[in-house]
Every structure is written in C-alpha cells, then in structure tokens.
C-alpha cells in the first residue's frame, strides 16, 4: 500500500494561498471609493460584456476580480440569496453584512476543503441613507473578511494602487472627480487608461429604490480628462438617467 508523503498543514495552506494569489494577480485590478452621493466602483476591464461589477439588490453591489467564471458564480448566488431573503422577509431586511458573511463561509470552506481554492477576491458594497453609512466588505480567496472604510482596492496590484489612491482620495468628492481619482490610481504615473478599458458603476443614493447604475462608454469618456485638455474643460456629470 502506498503511503502519501507527509506535507505539513502550514505548507498546504501556503501553497493554496500562493496558487490563489497568482491566479488573482493575472487579472486587472478594481477600485471602490465612497463619494458624495454613494459608492463608485471602477475596474480595468477590456471586455464590454463580461462584467466585474454588478447589482445584487436595491442598495448592494458586487465586484469581483480574478477568475471570471468563479466570481460570476458567486455573484449569481448572491443575487439569489438577496432576492430570496427579500421575498421571504422584506426588502429592508437584505443587508451586505450577512451576504458578506455567507460569501466568507463559502470561500473559507472551499479554501480548506476543496482541491483548488477559488482564485477570486470580491467586494460587497452597500450604501447607507447618509454618506457615513456606506459599507465596503472586502473578501479574500480564503474567506478573510475586511470591513473597509472609504475605499477598497481588489486585485494583484492592490498595494501599489492603494498607496496612490490614499494620496488622491478626498471624502465627499463629486462623481466626476471620484472617477478621475479611481482611474488615476488604477493607471499610475507612467500610463493612462482609456475610457474603453474601464468598467464603471455606482451605487447612487439619489436614484430611488434601485440605486445601482452602470455608466456607459460615452458617460465615462465625458467624465475622464482627455489628454492635452485641462480637466476643467470637461462637462460635469449629467443627471442620472
């Protein structure tokens, strides 16, 4: 009978974590920041159809980086959880904190029990009635939950982007300014990202019941500073539509 080689549990966990981190680092990063009217989510995404940011419920959004099929599976499960809960109880009983805990349990379980950890990092964002009530739950591939304030960065280059974002971020920014900050933090000093490569959505307190709104390419383009043109030339954000 063959005996398997002994591998220390520390080593198994470390190998799995390295594997997940490598998978996540292959994709592009994502930034979420609170602004005056809510939470802005901005991702580098070359695809216009495979989304990283989506709506979960009236005031809750989902964002994921890493392996698309894995975080999309989590996204759909989150929509189902939220809709079932809202149907069984009431719309106001659906909250990001309990959803984030569910995600953490699933990711933690898969990390320790399955062959392969999920190569994803996800964010569950919820806007409050007032600017101070916004919540950002950042969940890692192993089920670690971080309750973050004001901004959150997901992806392989999170450290560098967080550092840039900390230098640029101010509370209570306008939507357009918040988007510029996000785009600049994602891009860094030595390159610029085009509107076409960005996926942008917002949870906007002013929208009524369903607060999630995706910005289309024309809107993103209008809000971003064009090369060679001063930012003040650009039109401000139109009314949300």
């Amino acid at each position: 009978m063959n005996m398997p080689f002994y591998v220390a549990p520390e080593q198994i966990m470390k190998d799995r974590a390295d594997y997940a981190r490598k998978g996540i680092a292959r994709g592009k990063s994502l930034v979420a920041l609170t602004y005056r009217d809510g939470i802005l989510l901005c991702a580098e995404n070359v695809s216009n159809t495979l989304r990283k940011i989506s709506e979960i419920y009236d005031r809750i959004a989902f964002a994921g980086v890493g392996k698309y099929n894995e975080f999309d599976q989590l996204r759909i499960a989150g929509v189902r959880h939220a809709d079932l809960k809202g149907y069984a109880y009431s719309r106001q009983d659906v909250d990001a904190r309990s959803l984030a805990n569910q995600y953490a349990q699933i990711l933690g379980h898969i990390f320790t029990h399955e062959m392969k950890p999920m190569e994803v990092e996800i964010l569950v964002a919820e806007i409050g009635a007032e600017p101070g009530g916004d919540q950002l739950f950042h969940i890692l591939y192993d089920g670690t939950v971080n309750d973050e304030h004001r901004c959150s960065v997901l992806g392989g280059e999170a450290d560098a982007i967080s550092e840039r974002l900390a230098g640029l971020y101010e509370p209570e920014l306008e939507a357009a300014a918040a988007l510029r900050v996000a785009a600049e933090a994602l891009a860094g000093a030595d390159r610029t990202v085009r509107a076409d490569d960005l996926e942008v959505a917002a949870l906007d307190r002013t929208l009524g019941r369903r607060c999630f709104r995706r910005l289309d390419l024309a809107e993103i383009d209008a809000l971003l500073p064009a090369p060679g043109r001063p930012p003040s030339d650009r039109p401000e954000a139109g009314p949300p539509g």
């Binding site: 759909i76 079932l84 809960k85 959803l99």
Partner: protein, 275 residues
C-alpha cells in the same frame, strides 16, 4: 410555500441550476408547486375589480379603481390594482385580491431577478409570456374560485410603441391593438373606451378616457369604486411611454375627475336629460 434555505448562499450543481428564473429558484427549495395558492374556495375572499388599459400616440395608459369587495361588503376602499413591472411596463389585476397581489409580487421579482442575473432586462414579449405562465400555474385555484386575470401593458423599446395584453384564467395571452379591460366592471368600462377611442389620442386625453370609463363602470357595477371625494380616494392611473412608468399624482387624477363631473353636471351635458 417552502423557501429554499436562507442560511447559505444558494449554489447549485450543473443540471440543477434554475438559471435566471426566480420561480424556478423557489421551486428548488422544495417540491411544493410554485404559485399554488389556496386550495378551496373560502367565503369572504376579497375580490378586486375593474381595470382598464388603452394605447395612445406615445404609449399606453392603465387605470384601476380602488375597491375590493367580499360578497356584498366593501372590504377595502384603498387597495391598488395597478403596479409597475420593470421600468417600462405595468401590470393590473382583477380577481381574488390575495392571490393577485402575490402573483404581482412574484412577477415583479421575477423580472428584476432575471435582469440582475442575466445583466439585461427581459423583452416585453418575454415579460408577457412569463405572466401568462404564472396565470396558468394558478389554474387549479382558479377552478376553485380564486380567479386571477391580469392586464399587462408596456412600452416596447424594439418596436417603439405601446403594447397591451389581455389574459384568461388558462393563461391564454391575447395582444390587443387599442384597449383592454378586465374585472366585473369591464363590460361598461370597455364600452366607454371603445366609443371614445381614436388612434391619435394624446396621453392626457387617454387618461381622461380611462377615468371616464372607470366612472361609468362604477356607476353601473356595485363592485367597482368611483372617485371618493369625501375621503380623497381616487383610482390609480399610470402612463407608460418611452420615458418609462409614471403614476399620475392623486391631485392630477382628482382634477380630471372634477372636470369630468363638471361636464356631466353642465346644463346641456349628458346628465341634463335626467336619464
């Protein structure tokens, strides 16, 4: 109805996944049939009555009175029978109030659930078809007296026009070109709309016609509520056009009713003959 367990985020294996269907998701919770409501005809079940919809130049108008009756009692004076369904459609109900409300709630959720899972809203035809399946699922209850008959109307973004659909208890779906009515006062309301309908009606004129139809239905049908000027209760009137669903303000509806009443009271108005 049994719900799938809420303790965990619902994840499904390949082959068991309900896709973007919310009713399918509910059915995964247990074998309890989705949308199977009351099993026997109960005395004292509230019944919602007259709703009417008509197409106009820029979309559709839908209206419903506010009365629910249980036998010869007025059980509720302020229930609503017209609801938004997505951003560009409305559903109006006639029939047993409880199952109707539940069907609307499930229908609204189904549309939103589909939109969120799939990333794009269901087409107007798809929505009408979904509603048809929900009505059909209620057939067993309908045969025991808990009938639900909705009207569905919306703005078709592909065809750039308003469209409206009528249903029967078997889930049969019939697209109407100009107008539709359902409920106990539908005969009278439908006749008023039929006589006043023109293809080039504007939204405001269509709203006036719908209000007049409900007024005449309330005049002839005991189960249909008219405008209640004492309590300030007025029918729900909604307009759907390329800008989406919009409910008319109560003050707007009240103004339209008051001018309708004024025209009926005028010395040479329709009421002058004493008929």
């Amino acid at each position: 109805m049994d719900l799938p367990p809420l303790r965990t985020v619902p994840l499904f294996g390949i082959g068991e996944d309900p896709g973007p269907s919310f009713t399918g998701l509910l059915a995964r919770g247990d074998s309890a049939a989705v949308a199977s409501w009351g099993q026997s005809e109960l005395p004292g079940v509230s019944v919602a009555t007259t709703v009417v919809a008509l197409r106009h130049r820029d979309g559709v108008v839908m209206a419903g009175d506010r009365r629910a009756t249980a036998g010869n009692f007025i059980s509720h004076r302020t229930i609503e029978k017209v609801f938004p369904a997505g951003r560009y459609a409305a559903v109006a109900i006639a029939g047993a109030a409880g199952p109707s409300m539940e069907m609307v709630r499930l229908f609204q959720l189904q549309l939103e659930h589909y939109e969120k899972v799939e990333g794009r809203p269901l087409s107007l035809d798809g929505q009408a078809n979904q509603l048809s399946q929900m009505v059909r699922a209620n057939l067993a209850s309908a045969l025991q007296g808990l009938v639900v008959v909705p009207l569905f109307a919306g703005w078709d973004q592909g065809r750039r026009r308003g469209r409206l659909f009528q249903y029967d208890v078997t889930g049969g779906r019939y697209e109407e070109q100009d107008y539709a009515a359902a409920g106990s006062g539908s005969l009278h309301a439908g006749t008023v709309v039929k006589l006043g309908f023109r293809g080039d009606l504007e939204a405001a004129a269509a709203a006036d016609l719908a209000i007049s139809a409900l007024f005449e239905a309330a005049d002839e049908d005991a189960a249909t509520g008219g405008p209640d000027l004492v309590r300030g209760i007025f029918p729900v009137v909604v307009n759907i056009d390329s800008d989406g669903y919009r409910r008319l303000e109560d003050s707007d509806v009240e103004g339209r009713f008051r001018s309708l009443l004024a025209s009926l009271e005028a010395p040479d108005g329709p009421g002058a003959g004493g008929g």
